[in-house]
Point group: C2
Chain length 395, copies 2
């Protein structure tokens, strides 16, 4: 076979293996499902006229997330980007600071840093976790930073590196044990971007609860959705109070007076979106079990494929398998675009990883580690259909 | 009667006049109503699984607002604060600029300016419009600014005054004719904070469509609600395109690639909130007519009260009467707190105007005109129950 023929043949083999699992027809990358109390709770909002800033569902939703994740305090907000922006703000990230984030992430991670006037500083990921490569990072920080007055200083830019933000890629937990140790050694505040990892655990502890604060997202493509929504997780009561205060216009409680003591944000999650979230939380364990079952099916189907494998959680992790992740072997990376083209052409929605942050116009001049492995990962990752419904309908 | 006795007596007379109109029981300041297709449209979202960034309601909602307001382009967003922030950003407000806004406004007007790194500069309001006092403003700008290279420079701070943002207080249109003329004379970009004035017109043209851009809000207390939501209005196609682009993470359209060309925002209005908005828009004309009828009833009831009057639109304006506004005469301003106490005590929710921006900790050092009239207005305004339902139930 010629090279182009081989590429087509391999791509077809891969698409065929996906088709075996997802069944016939047009298949979305990730679709939400509303089989529980969604309708009941929305109706309750309309009947009670509480669709916005009043009503019981915001508090109920926050309690459900707290119970599930083990985070002592939960502050729901309008989306995951806002959650991360506020998480970074309450831990003390300031204009002119640098914040370490993986280069392999959705742009919101970098934008949340930018909104505070801070500068994202991009890190290498590894193939084992799809998150920050902690072994390379330690060496990098040793070589490029120094501690002055208890702060981590970037020796090249002279700026304070205030925080590190692991992002649990496609739901798979990052190497939190080493991240905590690095944060401690280099005086970095750990804030987790857990937008994709509701339902994912590391050593039995929920992602998003390891750092000073964490951020969840409930966008339409996430494991549960509120239409649009997010939440800040923290175990620190005073941080939680500040988060609630500044996300609700920093209004000082009073029966009728409008007084605000800092520049706050209008980031409150509306009651109607929280109502949807409450119903979704009730079926979260089922959704996770479906997604984990879907992983097993994909894994079996790909055992016969020599050019690619399905990403699997490591021993310490229990992943929500939010987006099932196909990884091409290095020698087969040339096949990626053909897999994307052929699968989407036949109605199976797939997509590559996000363009690396260092390749985006607004961030290409930001500080960065060498991203050799991340570039390779970017060229080899394909996310494949991941809806929990794919299991339900076939059960 | 002693002074305290007279205060109580006047307050009771005022509360009695309100009670005559609103009827018995506990009365909210402003309650939404959901008597149209709200159920149907929300159910459609759940049935179709389109609750978030996909689905037909966002486009439909934007078309309905465009049709009603006459704005050529409408970009819906997550709330009114985001709408104003983006409206200011697309017209070119930059970090370090000053932006003229009334001191008598909700804090979001000032915050939207702050998010861009710009500095709010506070203006005097007048009793005739409850908006910017254009006569005093012209003199103020003549004395304190100069035009250099086509830009308005604050002679005291040396900063560029980039824009002027009238806010149509409680739904009542500001003096747009003179504002346009001042904007033109002093090279200021006009952006309207029309958060409260959906359904309000000036010389037959809808508020929010006079400047380069305008912002609406659909918070739970507004004339229509989406739970939380807002919209940017503009007649400029290129500004509209930029607004849509940067409110949807500045993603460049592609079947699967994630590329973003500027630092964007995650401000998209979810489909489920837009669905609610579509149903609400259908009953907007009815809501406005109810609110205008409610004004007439209050006006009659207050004809016998010598210490206060109900704010009435001027000849050029047609107000949505979003929040009915009781104004105490100057000699009776001492009565305000007793009116607030007595009314809220007996279950009639009332509230004063917002604390002036210059009295809030984050803004007390910002530049400001002399605010003698605004201070007086603040001490004399009481918003009284304004729900359209107050007319429907008594019809």
């Amino acid at each position: 076979m010629s090279e182009p023929e081989k590429t087509i043949s391999t791509a077809n083999e891969i698409v065929q293996a996906i088709r075996e699992i997802v069944g016939p027809g047009s298949i979305a990358l990730h679709e939400p499902s509303f089989d529980g109390n969604e309708w009941l709770y929305l109706k309750e909002c309309l009947d009670s006229k509480h669709v916005s800033s009043t009503g019981k569902f915001v508090e109920k939703f926050e309690a459900l997330i707290s119970e599930f994740t083990g985070a002592k305090y939960v502050v729901s907000v309008v989306n995951g980007t806002a959650a991360l922006q506020i998480a970074l703000k309450i831990v003390g990230v300031k204009s002119g600071d640098e914040v370490l984030i993986p280069a392999l992430t959705f742009v919101a991670t970098a934008n949340a840093v930018s909104y505070l006037g801070a500068i994202p500083h991009f890190l290498e990921s590894d193939e084992k976790s799809l998150g920050i490569n902690t072994f390379k990072l330690r060496d990098y920080l040793k070589a490029n930073t120094q501690i002055e007055s208890g702060l981590c200083i970037n020796k090249i830019t002279g700026r304070v590196i205030r925080a590190i933000v692991p992002m649990h890629t496609f739901g798979h937990p990052s190497d939190l044990e080493n991240l905590l140790s690095i944060a401690n050694e280099f005086r970095l505040i750990l804030v987790e971007d857990a937008a994709e990892s509701l339902g994912s655990f590391y050593c039995g502890q929920h992602t998003g609860t390891f750092g000073m604060a964490g951020a969840l997202s409930f966008n339409g493509n996430k494991i549960i959705t509120t239409g649009g929504g997010g939440a800040i997780l923290t175990n620190d009561q005073s941080l939680a109070r500040i988060a609630k205060h500044i996300t609700t216009t920093a209004k000082i409680p009073h029966e009728w007076e409008f007084d605000h003591d800092v520049v706050g944000y209008n980031y409150r999650l509306p009651n109607i979106n929280a109502a949807l979230g409450c119903a979704q939380m009730e079926s979260l364990p089922e959704k996770i079990s479906f997604k984990r079952a879907l992983f097993q099916r994909y894994k079996s189907a790909f055992e016969k494929i020599s050019d690619a494998y399905i990403f699997e959680e490591s021993n310490k992790c229990k992943s929500n398998y939010w987006l099932q992740t196909l990884i091409l072997k290095k020698e087969s990376q040339v096949v990626r675009d053909t897999v994307l083209e052929e699968s989407n052409k036949c109605g199976i929605m797939t997509r590559p990883a996000w363009k690396l942050m260092t390749h985006l116009i607004p961030y290409r001049n930001s500080p960065s580690m060498n991203l050799e492995d991340t570039n390779s990962l970017y060229r080899r990752i394909v996310n494949i259909p991941s809806s929990p419904e794919l299991i339900r309908v076939q059960k």
